[in-house]
């Protein structure tokens, strides 16, 4: 406030070290409090000025109204963005899921509105937010790295504790004397003229800044250049490895070669004459479904091994395992109409699965032991499930398949006598 008196008359001998060699850009007036700034803004607006702005460390309530700023059109921008996002997201899903590449996923419809809602919602939000963010920048004329008022030292304090009002000289009503008087009458504690730069060296971008921008842009292009080169040329060199110690680890992978052992294999097989703990599996009936009769070749067993107790719980367990492992191909009813054959057929191919319950079919004729063996080791294109399903569960599945076969060919005599009345 020491310079209050110095600034009564705008003059080239301003206390601020601003060179007065260029054209006048505008007048900056300082006010003591946000309230005074607000009043001053109202007076300047009432005097008919339009090319002016106020600068304060924080938003001042009511400033928009005092300055005569119209309500922002940002809501409309956001609405437009949100609507675009909504339509775009719905269209995207329709085009991908229902038009360009419809795909049967467990028989669900390719186009169903409830399934589209989350993406439509997200699309709306995303585009609303982006249009709000960038719309705000554009409407506020950002980014703005330089402004002529920056030449004033006083302006540097505007983010701290100073309240400024600046009128630009390009305003039609601008007149140095009367404008200054207006600001003065509005209670300014300091007034300052700001001039445009004339020194040609300072009007251009600093050379070091230019160098940084150019070189960083060039560096940023290097990865793209490498990718572009690799896509358009041939090379005998191995791949480029960024982390070679991760790509080449000192360990063996299964079924690879190595010189360390005499047989040249990295794999070490079981040592002859030994059995791993818990892998003896001596019981042929339980582990392989084979029954040893009185001499001769072992036959497929027709019953169940003695370890298996036939009860309701085992059937339930068998159903549970069957529904997990078998239904994708054989279907829930065992008729070979699972999701996989149906989907392949829908795509024009063929992946037939055996009908397990067909009267007189292969699965019906198989003894239990052979059914067990088929689950373990596979048949035709079916792979074995020995790795996935433990032995006892395989027997449970055998039991359930028998139950399925019987249920598909049930006769009146199968119904318990006390429940016959409930059948119509």
């Amino acid at each position: 406030m020491a310079n209050t008196h110095d600034n009564h008359e705008p003059s080239d001998n301003d206390s601020e070290p601003v060179s007065a060699d260029g054209d006048l850009y505008g007048v900056l007036a300082e006010y003591d409090t946000p309230g005074e700034l607000l009043e001053a803004a109202r007076k300047v607006r009432d005097a008919g000025y339009t090319e002016f702005d106020t600068y304060s460390p924080f938003p001042v309530h009511g400033m928009d109204e005092a300055m005569g700023i119209k309500r922002t059109i940002l809501p409309l921008v956001v609405w437009g963005g949100g609507f675009t996002g909504l339509i775009g997201a719905v269209f995207l899903q329709w085009w991908m899921n229902a038009y360009n590449w419809p795909w049967n996923i467990s028989g669900k419809p390719a186009w169903s509105m409830p399934a589209n809602v989350p993406i439509a919602f997200e699309g709306t939000i995303l585009f609303s937010v982006l249009s709000a963010f960038f719309g705000m920048w554009i409407l506020n004329k950002l980014p703005q790295v330089w402004h002529p008022f920056f030449r004033s030292d006083r302006f540097g304090k505007v983010t701290d504790d100073t309240f400024l009002l600046g009128i630009e000289a390009k305003d039609k009503r601008f007149d140095q004397t009367s404008t200054t008087k207006l600001l003065q009458d509005a209670g300014a504690i300091a007034i300052e003229n700001v001039f445009l730069e004339t020194d040609p060296r300072r009007k251009t971008m600093p050379k070091f800044l230019f160098a940084i921008i150019v070189s960083s842009t060039a560096f940023a292009l290097i990865p793209f250049a490498i990718a572009a080169k690799a896509r358009n040329s041939h090379s005998n060199q191995p791949h480029f490895h960024i982390f070679p110690d991760m790509d080449f680890q000192p360990k063996y992978k299964s079924d690879t070669a190595d010189d360390l052992f005499a047989d040249g294999r990295a794999n070490r097989g079981e040592i002859a004459g030994t059995v791993a703990r818990g892998q003896l599996n001596a019981d042929d009936e339980f582990y392989r479904g084979l029954a040893h009769g009185t001499g001769g070749e072992p036959q497929w067993t027709t019953g169940f091994p003695k370890q298996i107790e036939i009860n309701d719980a085992l059937v339930q367990r068998g159903q549970n395992r069957f529904n997990i492992y078998c239904t994708p191909c054989h279907g829930y009813d065992g008729r070979g109409l699972g999701a996989v054959p149906q989907r392949v057929a829908a795509g024009g191919g063929a992946w037939p699965a055996r009908n397990l319950v067909e009267g007189g079919g292969v699965a019906s004729k198989m003894p239990n032991g052979q059914l067990f063996n088929t689950i373990s080791n596979g048949m035709g294109t079916m792979q074995g499930y020995a790795a996935q399903i433990p032995h006892a569960d395989r027997w449970a599945i055998v039991l359930y398949v028998r139950a399925l076969q019987r249920s598909q060919h049930a006769a009146d005599t199968d119904v318990p006598a006390d429940q016959k009345g409930s059948i119509r």
Partner: protein
């Protein structure tokens, strides 16, 4: 316009005077007349279904109307607690009215005995699980047997009393302390309420969810959704703020609070109405989406009944009327700042909030009528042919609702006395100068 703080306008009328008494009397009149109409309509058999179902219809309508008025107070006690919890400012000018609406809880609680006492003394046609026959069925259900102790009329009534007492106590405490501050002007009371608001919010949230599970979700005891509580709460807040807008505007028309409550406050009430409308839609869809996509029969039966057949049109009406229309229009600034427009949307949202509760409860009743002739309510999963999904609208649904709205006015009117504004609240000057940016 620009001041950061304002004092009460010298000409402001802040005393309640006789408006509380007028409101109580009007509410009492409405309640008596419309209960009488409802009972006559029920006795003369205008309700659909067989003989026994007439009272079942009445009690279903009663449950909907009662949940409706309960939810208005649920919404208002929320804003009171939240205001203290976050050191809110703008609410202060209208907070006494919010408190008065929240303090309707004791009266609402008593009104709820209208369906609670019959349940306690053996009435079985409202809550199906109260049936003796239902117990065996529930015991056999793979999940419900765990609820066997939960769904007994005695324990149910205990929980009902717990909700009533808890909500009444919270509302009463915040109202009492606020009135104390009017007299003493002690700013420390604000501090005390701020400390109380944290635990109150936790209790409130949990109790509100369980209230919804108990009172509304058990109408269909074989269906469950953990989202249900929060969905009910969202709808309750829509109703609460809509009712608040109407009551504040009504009080202003008597010449009171004309300087203190401005378009800025309406704007913020409208914003809450708007945001909870969306919140309701968001949770309602989330609840639907998971069950629709999961496609498990024990969950989808509830939606199947509402998605197909006649109820489909009610569901579509809900999406369009409760969400899409207010979402599109109430988004604009002016729709919340102009009184006629705000009144329109407040009434609109109250009607749809009621319809939301109707949509939640009534299909279970209609299903019984369609499948069992409703000599007894025997609700199970809402299965059966789509062609029989039936909206059995009855005038009793509306008259009971209006009667219970009268009860709500009685509950609110009782509390409109003394100052209508917390005159010595430290945040009042900020609230009076409130300005929406």
């Amino acid at each position: 316009m620009s001041a950061l703080v304002k004092t009460l306008h010298p000409d402001e009328k802040i005393k309640a005077g006789n408006i509380g008494k007028t409101m109580t009397r009007a509410g009492l009149g409405i309640a008596l007349v419309f209960f009488a109409i409802s009972i006559i309509l029920t006795l003369t058999g205008s309700a659909s279904g067989g003989h026994d179902s007439k009272w079942a219809r009445f009690f279903h309508a009663y449950l909907i109307g009662w949940s409706f008025i309960f939810s208005l107070s649920i919404g208002m006690i929320w804003i009171v607690i939240l205001h203290h919890l976050v050191r809110g400012r703008w609410v202060t000018a209208i907070r006494r009215i919010c408190e008065a609406m929240a303090c309707a809880f004791p009266i609402i609680f008593l009104a709820g005995l209208g369906f609670m006492l019959p349940l306690l003394f053996g009435y079985e046609d409202l809550y199906y699980w109260a049936h003796h026959d239902a117990h065996n069925e529930i015991l056999n259900h793979h999940l419900l047997h765990k609820l066997n102790f939960w769904l007994t009329p005695g324990f149910f009534f205990v929980r009902y009393c717990f909700y009533g007492v808890l909500f009444s106590a919270i509302a009463w405490y915040f109202m009492k302390k606020s009135r104390q501050q009017d007299e003493s002007g002690d700013p420390k009371i604000s501090e005390t309420l701020r400390i109380a608001s944290g635990p109150a919010m936790v209790l409130y949230s949990v109790a509100t969810c369980f209230f919804a599970y108990d009172i509304l979700m058990t109408i269909a005891p074989k269906w469950y959704s953990t989202m249900y509580g929060v969905n009910f709460w969202g709808s309750a807040c829509v109703g609460g703020f809509s009712a608040l807008a109407l009551i504040v505007i009504g009080i202003q028309r008597t010449g009171r609070l004309t300087h203190s409550v401005t378009a800025e406050h309406y704007h913020d009430i409208g914003k809450w109405m708007y945001s909870f409308t969306f919140f309701w839609a968001y949770t309602a869809f989330s609840q639907f989406m998971l069950q629709w996509y999961g496609n498990m029969p024990e969950e989808t039966h509830w939606y199947r009944y509402r998605m197909f057949g006649e109820w489909k049109w009610v569901s579509i009406l809900m999406v369009v009327g409760y969400w899409a229309f207010p979402f599109a229009i109430l988004m604009s600034r002016w729709t919340k700042r102009i009184v006629p427009s705000l009144v329109f949307f407040a009434v609109w949202q109250l009607v749809f909030h009621w319809l939301d509760l109707y949509w939640n409860v009534m299909p279970s009743y209609d299903w019984n009528i369609a499948y069992h002739g409703a000599t007894k309510i025997v609700a199970g999963p809402l299965t059966g042919s789509v062609s029989q999904h039936h909206v059995g609208f009855s005038p009793v649904d509306i008259t009971v609702w209006i009667a219970l709205c009268g009860v709500f006015l009685v509950g609110v009117g009782r509390n409109l006395k003394g100052n209508l504004i917390p005159t010595k609240d430290p945040t009042l000057p900020l609230s009076l100068a409130h300005e929406v940016q």
